[in-house]
């Protein structure tokens, strides 16, 4: 008969022991990474620092279409 037993993993999290003789199942770790939303949505302007394209800006990086 298969049994499962809850026990603490290396970092204290609960893992489920599989059938006897098998390596206990450990959930995959969660990778956390920060996203700068303002940057990711291209809502920033280095020249002005205002978070947007300044009116009449002639810098090629900020406004190549001008």
């Amino acid at each position: 008969m298969n049994t499962t037993t809850k026990h603490a993993g290396p970092s204290g999290e609960k893992t489920l022991a599989g059938p006897s003789g098998r390596k206990p199942y450990t959930p995959p770790s969660i990778i956390r990474t920060e996203i700068e939303v303002t940057e990711a949505l291209m809502g920033f302007c280095k020249a002005s620092g205002s978070g947007s394209i300044p009116s009449g800006c002639s810098l090629p990086c900020a406004n190549p279409g001008s």
């Binding site: 990474t33 990711a40 920033f44 009116s55 190549p64 279409g65 001008s66």
Partner: protein, 282 residues
């Protein structure tokens, strides 16, 4: 005229406007294949006033349009009411630009795809499964490109100057790169959208490796497992696209595929020549 950025070509009516000098290197004389997208200028304001679908609260937003969607870009940040518009069909292959009257002048008109319209259109196209727009410095050296990825302030332009001063490699951009899959693997393209060091080149090359930048007291290079690398790569991608869920899924998928195939590492560096040695450019 035709502009090609990251392998995506944009057909723009000849004589509609003078091409900004910053975009001249991206002029494309090749007419063998149809363009990815075609753009026209309309003097009329779009008459189908659409609902706002997504507003990131900055200089652009997405609105609905009769046959697709519309990207509205603030024409004046002071008022936050006047917008240039780029109306796109559902496939994003046909665009109609209407420029707000404040930029319209007699005689030669302004360039249609004013910033950041061309970049946004490129990003929207890429996020339909075509590739990534990555926040990074790209260095083409010995026939392949190393990406040094990181957000603003990570040191991309600083590192770009170090490469330029040392005469090592050709810099594709010190801020924004396009990564796309080709038959023989992943390829990195330079873009017109540069950083503070103003490196911008239309050149491209196969992707050799990705280093995620971290400023530190000492230099070091630590290989990253694929899952961590995929997450780090996602965090350095630009995510302007629509529909949002479809676009984010596309970026996630491509990040995972790139990270599974390309060596990735975290590069801790000091702003001097040791950084280049540590990254493998002695």
């Amino acid at each position: 005229m035709r502009i090609r950025v990251g392998g995506l070509s944009f057909e723009i009516p000849d004589g509609a406007a003078a091409l900004p000098p910053a975009l001249v290197p991206w002029l494309d004389d090749n007419r063998d294949a149809p363009p990815t997208a075609t753009c026209t200028l309309s003097a009329e304001n779009p008459d189908d006033t659409g609902a706002v679908l997504f507003d990131p609260g900055h200089c652009w937003r997405v609105e609905s349009a009769e046959e697709g969607l519309r990207i509205a870009v603030l024409s004046d940040v002071r008022t936050r009411t006047a917008f240039h518009t780029l109306t796109l069909d559902a496939s994003l292959s046909k665009g109609t630009v209407h420029l707000h009257k404040e930029v319209l002048v007699d005689g030669e008109g302004p360039f249609l795809l004013r910033a950041p319209m061309l970049e946004l259109w490129t990003s929207f196209l890429l996020m339909r499964g075509r590739g990534l727009l990555v926040h990074g410095l790209g260095v083409l050296h010995d026939g392949a490109v190393t990406i040094f990825a990181g957000k603003s302030g990570a040191g991309k332009s600083t590192l770009g100057h170090l490469f330029a001063d040392a005469g090592k490699g050709h810099i594709l951009s010190d801020d924004r790169l396009i990564v796309r899959q080709e038959e023989d693997g992943w390829r990195v393209f330079g873009t017109p959208w540069h950083g503070e060091a103003q490196f911008a080149s239309p050149a491209s090359g196969p992707l050799r490796a990705i280093c995620f930048l971290r400023q530190a007291p000492t230099c070091g290079l630590v290989p990253l497992p694929a899952a961590s690398a995929a997450a780090r790569l996602f965090a350095t991608c630009f995510l302007a696209g629509w529909p949002r869920e479809e676009g984010l899924q596309s970026v996630l998928d491509i990040c995972a595929r790139v990270a599974a195939r390309v060596p990735c590492a975290e590069l801790s560096f000091t702003p001097d020549g040791r950084a280049l040695e540590t990254a493998g450019f002695p």
